[in-house]
């Protein structure tokens, strides 16, 4: 009997399409079911009797929106929790917590490689099915990557890093999964795709890396290959491990249409090895690099700045385009994004970095002058910028305006002790209201004068209230 299947992605912001749901769509369509996709929830779907609802999950800090979504669908099926299946990253990492919050116990952890996991009795391996690119037709939500082949050429990771959930979700490391049949099937069903995005977690740990590259060459992703008169790109989206990459890897990578090559630079301790590997990349003509920079994790703000600066210097020296993507560390089981790695980081500093990145749309441009203005030309300048009030920090032009100059004068007039006190007041009073109260109690006139910059428009609501 044809069943009504609803696939749901909670309404958190995301660019990438939910790959798991796309594969489930293919599976259910293959066995003759009717499938519909919804982002979040809407009232259109209330008048269909759903046989099954699959809800995907992503990051643990999407906790609230995810739990609210699951509860909404639980209400929709009148509490029949047999109809709801939950999967995805958060579900795998926080299975117990999610069950305790929602009551749903059909939570699939890890890879969907056996249909028994979703109480089906057949031999399909859903994880190996092609994604259904037509799933989002007619929906309002726009995803990127739909013009790309999306998949995996390996699974899992042999490492067990404490900050990473891969070993929990994909405990078995499979170091080669032939990608050619998948590409062929996608071509047959949806036509040729422009690019290739691989979500391998640690591609360099594969002992069959050479075969893998050869596969990519066979399917038309050699360097400078084009279709539709446009260059094709290969993106190992999860990045490569700077410690593992060697000359042989670069030689192989230089043969394919790699763009960008994503390399992580997680700690200043890796400086030497990182610089060496970037120089190797340059030697093999890999110019477009994207660099994940983990911060707020066992580092200091100064070290964070140094890592960004190293990229700027390497760009200049080697003529590369390394885009740095600072990534704030959030613990694996955190249900929001408020984690601060004290004592080196604090609320004001973490917020400061986020505000700079907001202005720069998330990435750090390769140009030196731009970097110097945004992050400072020295680590000390960076620390000064992190102390700035938000209104000044976010509205800096190429040259410092009067307000910034005034603030800087006042800031440089503070002793080290006063700067510490300033920071303490800012970090302990995060709302305008409590900050205003705290400022009213400050006796030190220098501190009071500089603190006024942090509440530039605070009197306005009072005035409006009076009106």
């Amino acid at each position: 009997m044809k069943r009504n299947i609803l696939l749901v992605e909670p309404a958190y912001k995301t660019k990438f399409p939910p790959l798991g749901l796309m594969k489930l769509s293919t599976y259910h369509k293959t066995i003759g079911d009717s499938v519909r996709f919804v982002k979040g929830w809407n009232h259109d779907i209330e008048y269909t009797s759903w046989n099954r609802i699959y809800i995907t999950t992503l990051f643990t800090y999407h906790w609230k929106v995810t739990v609210d979504t699951i509860k909404w669908y639980k209400e929709l099926v009148k509490g029949d929790i047999n109809k709801i299946y939950i999967g995805g990253i958060m579900a795998g990492l926080m299975r117990q917590e999610l069950w305790r919050a929602t009551g749903i116990d059909q939570i699939v952890k890890g890879i969907l490689n056996d249909t028994k996991l979703i109480k089906e009795n057949n031999s399909y391996i859903i994880d190996e099915m092609i994604p259904d690119y037509s799933l989002f037709d007619g929906t309002q939500h726009k995803y990127t990557l739909l013009d790309s082949y999306i998949g995996y050429s390996t699974r899992g990771c042999p490492n067990r890093c404490p900050f990473c959930g891969v070993h929990e979700l994909e405990p078995e490391f499979i170091d080669y999964k032939g990608i050619k049949p998948l590409i062929k099937k996608i071509d047959d069903s949806f036509g040729k795709k422009q690019h290739l995005v691989l979500f391998d977690n640690n591609i360099l740990a594969s002992r069959k890396f050479e075969i893998l590259i050869s596969d990519l060459l066979d399917i038309g992703f050699g360097k400078n290959e084009r279709i539709n008169n446009k260059l094709r790109h290969v993106d190992f989206n999860q990045g490569v491990d700077v410690r593992l990459i060697n000359e042989k890897h670069f030689e192989l990578l230089s043969k394919i249409a790699i763009n960008p090559l994503r390399i992580a630079f997680d700690s200043i301790k890796l400086k030497k090895i990182y610089e060496k590997k970037i120089r190797l990349a340059a030697r093999y003509g890999i110019e477009n690099l994207s660099n994940y920079i983990l911060y707020n994790y066992k580092d200091t703000p100064e070290e964070f700045w140094q890592r960004l600066k190293i990229n700027i210097d390497l760009n200049k020296e080697l003529g590369l385009k390394i885009y740095s993507f600072p990534m704030k560390y959030i613990p694996l089981n955190a249900t929001d994004r408020t984690y601060i790695d004290e004592p080196f980081w604090n609320w004001q500093f973490v917020r400061g970095v986020q505000r700079i990145l907001n202005v720069m749309k998330g990435s750090v441009m390769p140009q030196e002058d731009f970097f110097n203005r945004a992050f400072g030309s020295t680590a000390d300048e960076f620390m000064t910028i992190l102390h700035m009030p938000e209104s000044i920090l976010m509205n800096r032009g190429r040259e410092a305006k009067t307000e910034e100059v005034d603030w800087l004068n006042k800031y440089f007039g503070l002793t080290n002790g006063e700067r510490k006190e300033l920071l303490s007041i800012l970090c302990n009073n995060r709302s305008k209201k409590t900050l205003a109260t705290a400022i009213s109690k400050v006796q030190n006139i220098k501190l009071r004068n500089i603190l006024d910059y942090y509440l530039p428009d605070y009197s306005l609501p009072l005035f409006e209230e009076y009106e």
Partner: protein, 431 residues
């Protein structure tokens, strides 16, 4: 003397297990009932008693453990093997039919009862092969007696315990399944226990202490127990601020005080004691999601029936959902039926429902209607006031003699008001 020809067949067991409960969650109530009875019987009142319920949906198992009296090694086989026999009758305890223990049998493939008494070093265990039982009941073309089937599917044994200290009774159910999987929906179970189990009031409910004091002074026994679900203590769902259906989006009302009541049916002493919340606005019923609406009946502090048991005692059924409250039975004449969804039929039952209608249902219904009328009148007068103000404004602000201008202005100000046509027609006559 000839032997009786009465025989108990195996399907009697079906009646006492799968045939007994509509709601699979009832099994939690049955086991809690046995546990708290055992707490009441225990002489060691200084002890910290608790019922720990642990659900493991991923292993499909449920464990219910209490540190009550337990059963002594000497009596264990007899107690665990007796069905429909209980030595609790007449002791003001909650269970007395000797069948509650069978509740879980219908929902699992294997059940284990494990118990030990204080000071003993022997643990007694009874295992039930519920899968075989279900198979026998479904497929057997050769009906067997009650006794034969029990012999085939149960196993009793004893073993040395690690310590003489401590007493307990533990129920473990394996491979548990239920309709719509309600039994593992921890959100539902939490909600169910908070409404049904004999748990304390939450500290946030400011009238909890006042009610506790009143019930303790008047009921012959009033017990509140620590019930812990997967590590989380359970409390009754009452709060002083409650969500109502008054506005479309859902409004709030407050419980400003509680009325303490004694339910009098003309016997020597009241048949029950209780309380109900006095709402500030009393407009709209209490939202279903609050899990506390309706005056509910409890015996031994365990819920009888659901939130709607007393609906018929109100002028309109729905009025029961306008309030919160509890009636605690304090009479041996009012006996809960086996499902605990009402009382067994007798004269006291009829007198009880009449008394509730007289003492609570009708006075509250009257108050609801009165408040509703006052609210409706004040809305009407508000509308009248607004219309008068708009008319006054229009006449004052449009040049004298410009009657068309005045009417246009009123039509503009009052375009969303139902009275606009009436006002305009009246003004047309005047101007």
């Amino acid at each position: 003397m000839h032997r009786s020809s009465f025989r108990a067949g195996m399907y009697l067991l079906e009646n006492l297990t799968s045939g007994m409960y509509n709601d699979p969650l009832s099994i939690y109530r049955e086991y809690i009932q046995n546990s708290v009875d055992s707490f009441d019987l225990s002489s060691n009142n200084n002890g910290h008693y608790a019922v720990n319920i642990d659900l493991d949906p991923f292993d499909r198992s449920i464990r219910i453990f209490d540190n009550g009296l337990g059963v002594s090694a000497k009596k264990a086989e007899e107690v665990l093997s007796s069905i429909g026999e209980s030595n609790k009758r007449g002791l003001h305890l909650r269970g007395f039919r000797g069948i509650g223990r069978l509740g879980g049998i219908a929902f699992c493939d294997k059940a284990i009862f494990r118990t030990k008494a204080e000071g003993e070093s022997t643990e007694s265990i009874q295992e039930w092969d519920c899968y075989r039982l279900k198979k026998a009941l479904n497929l057997s073309n050769k009906p067997r007696t009650f006794k034969q089937i029990l012999k085939n599917i149960t196993k009793f044994y004893q073993r040395n315990s690690q310590s003489k200290e401590g007493s307990y009774f533990e129920v473990i159910l394996y491979d548990v399944k239920s309709f719509k999987n309600y039994i593992f929906d921890i959100e539902r179970v939490r909600n169910y226990l908070s409404q049904v189990a004999p748990v304390p009031f939450d500290n946030n409910f400011i009238f909890g202490r006042k009610i506790d004091r009143y019930l303790k002074e008047n009921l012959s026994h009033y017990g509140k127990y620590s019930i812990v679900l997967n590590g989380e203590h359970i409390y009754k769902p009452y709060r002083s601020k409650i969500r109502t259906t008054k506005n479309k989006g859902g409004g709030f009302d407050h419980i400003d005080d509680v009325e303490l009541i004694a339910v009098d049916v003309g016997y020597k002493s009241p048949i029950a004691y209780g309380w109900y919340g006095k709402r500030r606005d009393l407009l709209g019923s209490i939202s279903k999601g609050e899990s506390c609406s309706g005056i509910r009946v409890r015996a031994g502090n365990i819920l009888i029936g659901g939130p709607h048991l007393l609906d018929k005692c109100f002028r309109e059924d729905r009025f029961n959902s306008y309030t919160v409250g509890e009636i605690h039975i304090d009479s041996a004449e009012l006996v809960p039926n086996s499902r605990r969804d009402d009382f067994i039929d007798n004269e006291s039952k009829a007198l009880f429902y009449d008394a509730i209608e007289r003492q609570i249902g009708l006075p509250i219904s009257k108050e609801i209607r009165l408040r509703s009328r006052i609210n409706s009148d004040s809305r009407k007068s508000d509308t009248k006031g607004k219309c008068a103000a708009s008319t006054h404004y229009a006449i004052k602000n449009v040049p004298k003699g410009n009657s068309i201008g005045i009417i246009a202005e009123i039509e503009n100000i009052c375009r969303n008001c139902n009275n606009v046509e009436l006002i305009v027609s009246k003004l047309n006559k005047c101007l």
